[in-house]
């Protein structure tokens, strides 16, 4: 296993505590945990693409990073206005 793959696995493990907060915390804490998890997911996708040497899959983290911003803002505005 390469260092990139091991790091991706460690980061996937680091999502677990944030996942617990996402499921069991209040609404505001859940949104923060969601932002944390999506940020880690961007790195995991980049690490896996490099670990398996698949250039085409490097587009996934780029898209995910863009969607993290847009999706997060939608969640936040929804909380601010309607929840």
């Amino acid at each position: 296993m390469t260092g990139f793959l091991i790091t991706a696995i460690v980061m996937l493990g680091a999502m677990v505590p944030a996942g617990v907060v996402l499921c069991r915390g209040d609404l505001a804490a859940s949104v923060v945990a969601y932002e944390f998890i999506t940020s880690v997911a961007v790195m995991v996708l980049a690490l896996l693409a490099q670990a398996f040497r698949r250039s085409a899959e490097f587009e996934l983290p780029v898209l995910m990073a863009m969607l993290l911003f847009g999706g997060g803002l939608v969640f936040v505005r929804t909380i601010e206005r309607w929840l």
């Binding site: 260092g3 990139f4 091991i6 790091t7 460690v10 980061m11 680091a14 999502m15 677990v16 505590p17 944030a18 617990v20 907060v21 209040d26 609404l27 505001a28 804490a29 949104v31 923060v32 945990a33 932002e35 944390f36 940020s39 880690v40 961007v42 790195m43 980049a46 690490l47 693409a49 490099q50 250039s55 490097f58 587009e59 983290p61 780029v62 995910m64 990073a65 863009m66 993290l68 911003f69 997060g72 803002l73 936040v76 505005r77 909380i79 601010e80 929840l83």
Partner: protein, 111 residues
């Protein structure tokens, strides 16, 4: 060989940052305190991962796309953090502005 060692050190640091931030997210009370631990994950750890890809792959297409993802994270992270704090404060007080500055919570709620 040296590049591989440097990349592994950078990846280890990135993993450590993410693990510590994860503990912070789980342990700290309230959204305000938890949000502090999102910043290292949106800025520091992606920078370390991008450096590791640069060291390992050199100036390649992969490294370029990693840099692009890093730029999106660095630009979007502070905006998202600010919007989150604002939303949480509006949920709690009805208005994001400080009540001591003449605007009482809920008095002039933004539409």
């Amino acid at each position: 060989m040296a590049a591989s060692i440097v990349a592994d050190i950078l990846l280890g640091l990135a993993a450590l940052v993410v693990l510590l931030a994860s503990v912070g997210i789980a342990v700290m009370p309230g959204a305000y305190a938890k949000l502090h631990f999102v910043t290292p994950v949106t800025v520091v750890a992606p920078a370390l991962v991008t450096l590791a890809v640069l060291v390992q792959a050199g100036l390649s297409e992969n490294a370029g796309q990693s840099v692009l993802a890093l730029v999106f994270l660095i630009i979007g992270g502070p905006f998202l953090s600010h919007a989150t704090i604002r939303a949480v404060r509006m949920r709690e007080t009805g208005d994001w502005r400080h009540p001591a500055r003449g605007i009482k919570p809920g008095e002039e709620k933004e539409q």
